[in-house]
C-alpha cells in the first residue's frame, strides 16, 4: 500500500501537552470545528467518535451513528473487504496512512448517495484497545478537476493524433505529387529526346555535306569567282549557322539529359544499409583525382561516422558536392576543400559537410540554389557542365534518404554545403510510394 508514513500523526510531546492542558469537552469542541470529518472506531469497528465535519459529509447526526458499525458509512461493495483491511492495518506496523492514494475511495451518505473522499487513517492503542481514526475530506471538487484534466489530456491526445494523421496524409500527398511530377518530367524529357535526335543527326548530316562541298570547291573546273563566293558563303553564314545550331543542340541535349537524370533519382530503389562514409568519400576523391591535381586543390577529409542510407545514392551526393566545390575553386590558388561531419540538429542524425574556400555565393542566389537549372546561374564560373542539375539531384536524393540539405556561404571566403543522414541503428523512413513503377515508356504520339 502506498502513501504510508511511519511516524504517528501526533508527536508524543504534543499528546502529553494536550492531555495535561485540555479537557475532554475542549478536545471535542476542537474536533467539531475541524473542517474535515473525524471518525473513530473501536476494535469492533463500531463508531465511537463522529465530529461535525463528519456530520456535514455523511448527513448523519452523531447520535444516529455512535455505536453503529462503520459499514453504514461505506458503500456496500466494500462491506466485505473494508473491515479486513482495517484489521490488517490495526495489526500492522504502520501508524498512519492515506487510503487508496491510487484510486478514489467513496463514502456513503445517509441518503444512500456516494461521494469521493480522501481518507487518512491512523491508529491509537489506549486502555488495552485499538482505536482507528479516519480523517475524511470531500474529494468531489478535486476529483472534478482531475476528471477534467484527464479528459483534457485525452482530447489533446486525440487532437495530436488527428493532426499527426493529417500531416502524414499531406506528406503522402506531397510525395505522390512529387512522384507524379517526376513521372511527368520523365515523360516529357523522354519525348523531347526524339526530336532532339533528329536535330543532332541532321545537323551532323549538314556538316558532312558542308565538308563535302568544301572538297568540291577545290575543283579547278569551277570558275574562280563562283568558287570564291561559294567558299565565303560556306565559311561564313553556313558554318556559323551550323555552329550555333550545334551549340544549341548540345545545350538542349544536356538539359534534357539532366532532367531525365533528375526524374530518375526519385525512381531508383534504395538498398538500405550501413554506409561507410569515409570509404565513399575516398572513392569519390580518387575518381576526381585528375581534376583535383589540375587545380592543385587541397582536399582534407576529417573522420566521418557511418550512416544508414543507400551507398550509391550517397556516393552520387558526395560526388556532386565535391565537383561543385572543385568548380568553385577552379583557377584559384590555394583552394582548399574540407569534408567533415558533426552531430545533426535532430537526434539520431549526423550532418556531413563539404566546405570550400572559393568565391562564395551571393545571398540572393542561395534560396534557389537547389532548384534545377538555377545553381550555376550567378556563379560566373563559366561552367555550363551539367546545367545546374547537380544540386537539385543532391536535394532530391537526401530528401529520399530522409535527410536535409543546407548551404552557408560568405562572399569572398567560401561556401559550405551540408546534408544530414540517419545514424546506423535508426530505422529508415518507411518505404514510400516512390518505388511505384513509372511507366517504362512514356506516351507516344500516334504516327501522323
Amino acid at each position: 500500500m502506498e502513501g504510508t508514513h511511519n511516524e504517528s500523526p501526533i508527536p508524543a510531546w504534543v499528546r502529553a501537552y494536550v492531555l495535561q492542558h485540555l479537557s475532554a469537552e475542549q478536545l471535542a469542541a476542537i474536533l467539531d470545528v475541524a473542517e474535515d470529518g473525524i471518525i473513530t472506531v473501536n476494535a469492533e469497528h463500531r463508531i465511537v467518535l463522529f465530529n461535525r465535519g463528519a456530520s456535514r459529509l455523511f448527513g448523519y447526526e452523531p447520535a444516529e451513528v455512535l455505536g453503529q458499525p462503520l459499514n453504514i458509512l461505506i458503500p456496500p461493495t466494500y462491506h466485505q473487504s473494508h473491515p479486513q483491511q482495517m484489521e490488517a492495518f490495526a495489526r500492522g506496523p504502520v501508524e498512519s496512512r492515506r487510503m487508496a492514494s491510487r484510486r478514489t475511495v467513496f463514502g456513503q451518505r445517509k441518503d444512500g448517495t456516494l461521494f469521493p473522499a480522501e481518507v487518512t487513517i491512523s491508529k491509537l492503542y489506549s486502555q488495552d484497545q485499538w482505536y482507528l481514526t479516519a480523517i475524511v475530506r470531500n474529494a468531489e471538487e478535486r476529483k472534478r478537476y482531475e476528471d477534467a484534466l484527464i479528459q483534457l489530456n485525452q482530447e489533446l491526445e486525440e487532437r495530436i493524433q488527428l493532426r499527426t494523421a493529417e500531416l502524414a496524409e499531406r506528406n503522402r500527398q506531397l510525395q505522390e505529387k512529387t512522384t507524379e511530377n517526376e513521372m511527368f518530367v520523365y515523360s516529357v524529357s523522354h519525348d523531347l529526346r526524339s526530336p532532339l535526335i533528329n536535330l543532332m543527326g541532321f545537323s551532323e548530316e549538314l556538316e558532312m555535306a558542308v565538308n563535302r562541298i568544301e572538297e568540291l570547291l577545290g575543283d579547278p573546273r569551277l570558275p574562280p569567282d563562283i568558287g570564291e563566293a561559294l567558299g565565303q558563303l560556306l565559311q561564313g553564314e553556313v558554318k556559323e549557322s551550323l555552329g550555333y545550331i550545334r551549340t544549341a543542340v548540345e545545350r538542349l541535349s544536356r538539359i534534357i539529359d539532366g532532367l531525365l537524370r533528375l526524374s530518375r533519382v526519385g525512381r531508383v530503389e534504395y538498398r538500405w544499409q550501413v554506409v561507410d562514409m569515409e570509404r565513399i568519400v575516398q572513392r569519390v576523391i580518387a575518381a576526381h583525382h585528375a581534376m583535383i591535381q589540375r587545380n592543385q586543390t587541397e582536399v582534407i577529409v576529417e573522420p566521418l561516422p557511418p550512416a544508414w542510407a543507400d551507398p550509391d545514392a550517397v556516393e552520387q551526393v558526395v560526388a556532386n558536392l565535391l565537383v561543385n566545390a572543385l568548380q568553385a575553386l577552379e583557377s584559384r590558388r590555394g583552394g582548399r576543400i574540407v569534408i567533415g561531419s558533426r552531430p545533426g540538429d535532430a537526434p539520431g542524425r549526423f550532418l556531413y559537410f563539404v566546405a570550400d574556400n572559393g568565391p562564395g555565393i551571393e545571398p540572393a542566389l542561395l534560396p534557389r540554389l537547389f532548384q534545377p537549372f538555377q545553381g550555376k546561374a550567378g556563379s560566373n564560373s563559366g561552367h555550363k557542365k551539367g546545367e545546374g542539375i547537380g544540386l537539385a539531384i543532391v536535394q532530391r536524393v537526401i530528401e529520399r534518404l530522409g535527410g536535409q540539405v543546407g548551404v552557408e556561404s560568405t562572399v569572398g571566403s567560401g561556401t559550405t554545403f551540408s546534408f544530414t543522414l540517419a545514424q546506423p541503428g535508426e530505422s529508415p523512413p518507411p518505404p514510400s510510394h516512390h518505388e511505384k513503377e513509372a511507366p517504362a515508356h512514356p506516351h507516344k504520339e500516334a504516327p501522323a
Binding site: H190, I197, S253, A446
Partner: protein
Amino acid sequence: MSSQRLLILLAEDDDGHARLIERNLRRAGVINPIIRVADGQAVLDYIYRSQSDLPLLLLLDINLPQVDGIEVLRRLKSDPRSSKLPVIMLTTTDDPRDIDRCYELGCSVYITKPVRYEKFVEAIQRLGMFLEIVKLPSPPAQALSAPSGLEPCGQPS
C-alpha cells in the same frame, strides 16, 4: 566468302530517325537490303508472314506505336519460331530501366540513338554476325571525347 544475304528490318516510327539510321548504315558500308516498318504490329506481321527466307536482323526501336518495342521483343523471344532472331534494340535514352528490361527479355545488344556507325559495327560484332560491309569505317580519333552523340561521322578536316 559467299554468305546468304542478310536482311535488315528496321522498326522505327520516327521518319527522321529512320532516315538517319539508314544513312549511317550505308555510310558504314552496309549494303544489305533495309526494310523499314513504322510500328510494332508491322514488325510482327513482317516476321511471321513474310515469304522471304533471307536471314533477318531486327533493329527495334524500344518506343513504337501500336505494339511497343519491349512487347515486340517479348513476343519474338517467347515464340520458338523467332526466339533466335538477332535483335538490336534502339533506345532514345540510356535509361537503365529500359535497358534492364531489354536484357531481361533476351535482347543481345542495344544502341542509344542516334545510331553511329562505330556503335552499329560494335553491336554487330557483339552479336557475332557477319554483315556484308564493303568498307570498314576508319576509327574517328576524337569520337571518344566528344559529348553525347554530336561528333560528325565524316572527317572534320
